[in-house]
């Protein structure tokens, strides 16, 4: 079947098109979708371009920042409201990829991609979907559970916690190719401390499952305690709890299991890898 391109002016309209047509896909930056089109993926029959005016907004909302699904990674890196995410963005792709790739598209990227989603998960992200016109919000974890369902949910925006203490948000990505490459493992952590005790710890792992995942046992090993060699060791030891990473072209399951605790400990102790 030949391809068609349709343009719509709102996310709601895009959602209706996607629901009506099995082979319709929303085009954001195209860094993943156009790969499939170039390969001749016959499941794709309609490319939907969306010019919703809300797609490029970045706005502070109380203790959160709201980021439109169509915001490119380059734009996000420059947004003062989201300065804490700049190191995460810098770890993605090369400059040309970042000029194209969007925040919304990153939530649909399959492992080992999805570095931004990993960071968002540690920052208690909420995803706004275009449904029934008004939109509705759900936790990023719930979004990931239904992300690959048909019809696909259409994301209009993501809202993430702004860490009160910028040093409390940390991100580490381990890749085999320097300076850039797909994640073998990515770890993001929000570690707010009050009077020396960690409170509200959230840890997320990327490339350790089909979507970014919380490391709940590692969170529990840190919650209410102070951050030190001992607690970091306990969190690192617990980080694999319940996870079954897959083997792919980037790394084997074994390698990911070996590496994740190391990256977790380095992140917690702010250690640099030995070269």
């Amino acid at each position: 079947m030949p391809l068609a391109v349709r343009s719509v002016e709102s996310f709601a309209e895009a959602a209706r098109l996607l629901a009506a047509e099995e082979g319709a896909r929303l085009l954001a930056g195209g860094t993943l979708l156009m790969r499939a089109v170039n390969e001749g993926d016959v499941r794709i029959t309609v490319i939907v371009r969306c010019t919703d005016p809300g797609r490029e907004l970045v706005r502070r909302e109380g203790e959160r920042v709201r980021i439109g699904a169509g915001v490119t990674l380059s734009r996000l890196a420059r947004a003062p409201e989201a300065a804490f995410l700049a190191p995460v963005v810098r770890a993605v792709g090369g400059p040309a990829i970042r000029n194209m790739a969007t925040v919304g598209g990153n939530l649909f990227a399959h492992s080992p991609y999805g570095d931004l989603g990993t960071a968002f998960l540690a920052l208690d992200a909420r995803v706004t979907l275009a449904e029934g016109g008004t939109g509705r919000e759900l936790a990023l974890e719930d979004f990931y559970r239904r992300r690959d369902h048909r019809p696909p949910p259409v994301v209009t925006a993501v809202s993430v916690l702004r860490p009160r203490d910028p040093a409390a948000f940390r991100f580490r990505k381990f890749s085999r190719v320097r300076p850039k490459g797909a994640s073998v493992v990515a770890v993001a952590a929000h570690l707010p401390a009050f009077g020396g005790r960690l409170e509200g710890v959230r840890i997320a792992l990327g490339a350790m499952g089909p979507t970014p995942l919380r490391a709940r046992a590692a969170e529990a090993a840190l919650e209410g305690r102070s951050l030190g060699t001992e607690t970091a060791g306990a969190a690192a030891a617990a980080v694999l709890d319940g996870l079954r990473p897959s083997s792919d072209a980037i790394a084997s399951e074994w390698y990911r299991r070996e590496l994740a605790p190391v990256v977790m400990r380095r992140l917690l102790l702010a250690e640099e890898p030995r070269r």
Partner: protein, 165 residues
């Protein structure tokens, strides 16, 4: 679906062509307009040899829908159209930054985008700027040296060493 008309500026000139639905910009440039400077390497955005500038910023033309170029300013290597080589091109020659040459157009566009934004880049900025461009011949060092040297030449600081005038 019948082909759609698309208009954009290519290296400063208004151009128009018809594109099939789903065609990428690289195809439109090479097959539609005969500009063979952007190269088809992987068609997956991984190699960077198709890098062009869109409104001054580097993008991967193989991953851009051709009709999304409507009204934009596209630049390829043909943007250096003077009778003399640009100092950036000359630096690539002098530093032996091209061997097989397939990555070179993409490298030059990535470097050009950097030098416009940052006329005096440090080594780390150069490495970052070409981090999405793969070269399988040179080991990158000659390319990094050439870009740093081109910055010096354009600033009239002469050559930073490594041959050439």
């Amino acid at each position: 679906m019948s082909p759609k008309p698309v208009r954009f500026r290519l290296n400063g000139r208004e151009r128009a062509l018809f594109v099939e639905a789903g065609r990428n910009l690289l195809d439109a440039l090479r097959e539609g307009l005969g500009d063979l400077t952007p190269k088809y390497g992987c068609g997956q955005g991984t190699c960077g040899s198709c890098t062009v500038l869109v409104d001054g910023e580097p993008v991967l033309s193989c991953l851009m829908l051709a009709e999304a170029a409507e009204g934009r300013a596209i630049e390829t290597l043909e943007t250096f159209d003077g009778p003399e080589l640009d100092p950036l091109q000359q630096a690539f020659m002098d530093h032996f930054a091209a061997q097989c040459g397939y990555c070179t157009p993409g490298m030059l566009m990535a470097a050009e985008a950097l030098l416009r934004r940052e006329p005096d880049p440090d080594r780390e900025q150069v490495v970052e700027a070409i981090s999405g461009n793969i070269c399988r011949c040179t080991g990158y060092e000659p390319i990094v040296r050439a870009i740093l040297d081109a910055a010096a030449r354009r600033a009239g600081r002469g050559t930073a060493g490594g041959g050439g005038s």
